[in-house]
């Protein structure tokens, strides 16, 4: 006898496509987190003293901080002393052109479908690639430089534009912000840096691709994006990691600064290794992302499609300081098998007439647990501030969970805060209806999921929207029997 759930009961484990390891000679720092490690990293990178000092302050803050306890999952024990905090492909030489990059590495990115080769970059996306801890290559640099746009690895920015880095690093996410931010400040390896000069509209998508390759390393990159007055940039980050039985920590920090009339659009397609179907292995994705609309009429928009990682734990946030500034957060988070996501956003309304919009779509399958956690904070001076939050959960099967934790703190009674939430299930009836029109169950689920997530996917740059759509379908393949 078929029971009600038979159709949506059979959770298969689709193999993770990007689980291979690249065999390449690496410089790896000895495991452990202490002053010596920090000095080692800083020395490896020939950093100025002020940055070393800043790192050491981060290390001290890390020592003072405790692990949070408010999250909606059991935080696994992480032995910070067992992690290696630095791993880089051995040829430390800076790459001037792609020809100088290790062919093994190029082959890796080829496999990952990252456009690095000349013809592919013609697609019009400038790419920076961070392999383990080091930025490997940045394409299109010349073309961007003509416009005064700086798009390079964090390390290069420290060397070439120290005044900018020094002015803004830690200005949005201070080293003392939380334990993982402190860890990142102390041990960050590399990352991306973007500066868009006044009034310049960046003519192409900027994209960074992160890859963790080496065993027992963490990835602690730092991204800093500054959009000067009246400028615009759209930035995309993607990531994958090999399949390993051990968990790996990814504790990145992203800081966005939008000055008056500037706009930053930051998109993430996160596909770190999620662990196997029993929850073994996978990335702990504990990331601090925050942007500030510093000037009037600034706008910051976060879009994230989160399909990977064993645990995804992050709240891309916006500080709405400038009057009339806007913050947006669009999110699709998928959890299946034993994946956990505790994600959402914080919108801090400080300036007058600031507005924020939050669209969160959680999808849970298998035994996945998906929590939306969001804070909308309206300060006393934020007259006429407005927030709209839409928070939807979709369940596939009945062993998964969806949870929402919306927090609203308003100190201004001229503000309007709206919150809508729905929970729905992909019903057998829906799938049967589509089956009856000739569409098989896998495609039926893909159709339903993509329909459900459309509002968020529409926010992604075109070429990535298509990829994200495919990724969603692949991720949920086998979730419906």
């Amino acid at each position: 006898m078929a029971n009600d759930n038979e159709i949506i009961d059979n959770i298969a484990n689709k193999e993770y496509e990007f689980g291979f390891v690249t065999d390449i000679e690496m410089d790896v720092a000895p495991a452990g987190l202490n002053e010596e490690t920090i000095r080692y990293i800083s020395a490896k990178k020939n950093e100025p003293d002020w940055l070393l000092d800043w790192r050491l302050k981060g290390l001290q803050a890390f020592g003072r901080q405790k692990l949070p306890e408010w999250q909606n999952f059991a935080l696994p024990t992480i032995d910070f002393q067992k992690i290696s905090y630095y791993a880089a492909p051995k040829s430390k030489k800076k790459y001037d052109s792609l020809d100088q990059v290790d062919p093994e590495l190029l082959a890796t990115f080829e496999k990952l479908g990252i456009p690095l080769s000349e013809q592919k970059t013609l697609a019009g996306v400038a790419v920076d690639v961070v392999f383990d801890s080091v930025s490997v290559t940045t394409t299109y640099k010349e073309k961007l430089r003509e416009l005064g746009i700086i798009f390079c690895s964090f390390g290069e920015a420290v060397r070439e534009h120290p005044e900018l880095v020094r002015k803004y690093v830690g200005s949005v996410v201070p080293y003392s912000d939380n334990i993982f931010a402190a860890l990142n400040a102390a041990a960050f390896s590399d990352g991306s840096f973007v500066y868009i000069p006044k009034g310049v509209r960046c003519p192409m998508e900027l994209s960074t691709y992160f890859r963790i390759n080496t065993e027992n390393t963490g990835q602690f990159e730092r991204t800093l994006i500054i959009a000067d007055e009246g400028s615009y940039v759209s930035y995309l980050e993607g990531c994958t990691a090999p399949m390993r039985d051990e968990n790996q920590l990814h504790a990145a920090v992203v800081e966005l600064i939008a000055l008056e009339n500037a706009e930053i659009k930051y998109s993430t397609v996160q596909n770190w290794y999620p662990g196997d179907k029993d929850g073994k292995g996978g990335i702990y994705n504990f990331v601090t992302k925050r942007g500030i609309c510093k000037g009037a009429n600034a706008k910051i928009s976060w879009t994230q499609v989160e399909t990977g990682s064993a645990i995804t734990w992050k709240y891309p946030s916006v500080i709405l300081q400038g009057d009339n500034s806007t913050g947006e957060f669009y999110s699709v988070a998928v959890t299946r098998n034993k994946q956990i996501a505790d994600t959402g956003t914080k919108m801090h309304h400080i300036g007058r007439n600031t507005r924020s919009r939050i669209i969160s779509k959680g999808i849970s399958a298998g035994q996945g647990q998906n929590s939306y956690r969001g804070l909308v904070q309206i300060g006393p001076k934020a007259d006429e501030a407005r927030n709209f939050t839409q928070c939807d959960s979709l369940l596939i099967g009945d062993r998964c969970g969806a949870h929402t934790f919306p927090y609203i703190e308003s100190k201004n009674n001229t503000a309007t805060v709206e919150h809508e939430a729905t929970t729905s299930k992909i019903g057998e009836d829906q799938i049967f209806y589509l089956n009856q029109r000739g569409i098989d169950s896998e495609k039926a689920v893909a159709l339903i999921i993509n329909g459900y997530a459309r509002e968020v996917l529409n926010q992604l740059p075109m070429e990535f929207a298509v990829e994200a759509q495919k990724l969603l379908s692949i991720t949920l393949e086998g979730s419906v029997g």
């Binding site: 019903g427 829906q430 209806y433 009856q436 000739g438 339903i448 329909g451 997530a453």
Partner: protein, 255 residues
Amino acid sequence: MLIIKNLHAEVEGKQILKGINLTVGAGEVHAIMGPNGSGKSSLASVLAGKENYEVTEGEVIFQGKNLLEMSPEVRAREGVFLAFQYPIEIPGVSNINFLKTALAEIRTHKGLPPLDAKEFLRLSKEKQKLVEFDAKLVNRSLNEGFSGGEKKRNEIFQLAMLEPALSILDETDSGLDIDALRIVSKGVNKLRSANNAFIIITHYQRLLEYIVPDFVHVLYNGRIVKSGTKELALELEEKGYDWLKEEAHENAPTI
């Protein structure tokens, strides 16, 4: 086209279909009537391959093939179409995208290439006109927030688009206003051909005035207890089902 032999099926351990025999030839229209709960929708569901129905006995041959061995989507691609009594809402999936996907699947199954965007649009326009389907509904989410009648008309629009060999209409007339009933019937009549067949489940003789059936069957308690021509429908309208129920009980095989 369709041969149903001694079909028994149960749901949740409860016997619902208790030996259905029915043969539908190409070009024919069969009406199935019968009291509430007699098993009409169940028969439609079993033919369409709904998972929770278990066939315990009997066979169904569709165009020479064993229908019961096929998955629901393969049945659909082979040409079985069910216009649901209660069409399902699927938020976020646009009606037209859904139809494009469905048509592509069916065409692939038949070894035909998918229609390009322009051809598809033209086909869609043509069929909208045929069944007088509101263009505004074409781009909305599939059945989401549609009125009862709009959902029924969407079923017929889909039918027109997918051009199945066998269409089963489960109470498509219920919930349609008088004009809509006429329009839908007109559409169905235009779609009728020597190569396709219709099974029309209805409670009302009125529909059968518009779509004139070749045969009328009465389903009661999981069996076809009476078959006849369109006059039977008139008789039922007049007399109700009680006389048939009594007859059925007298003739029921002892188990």
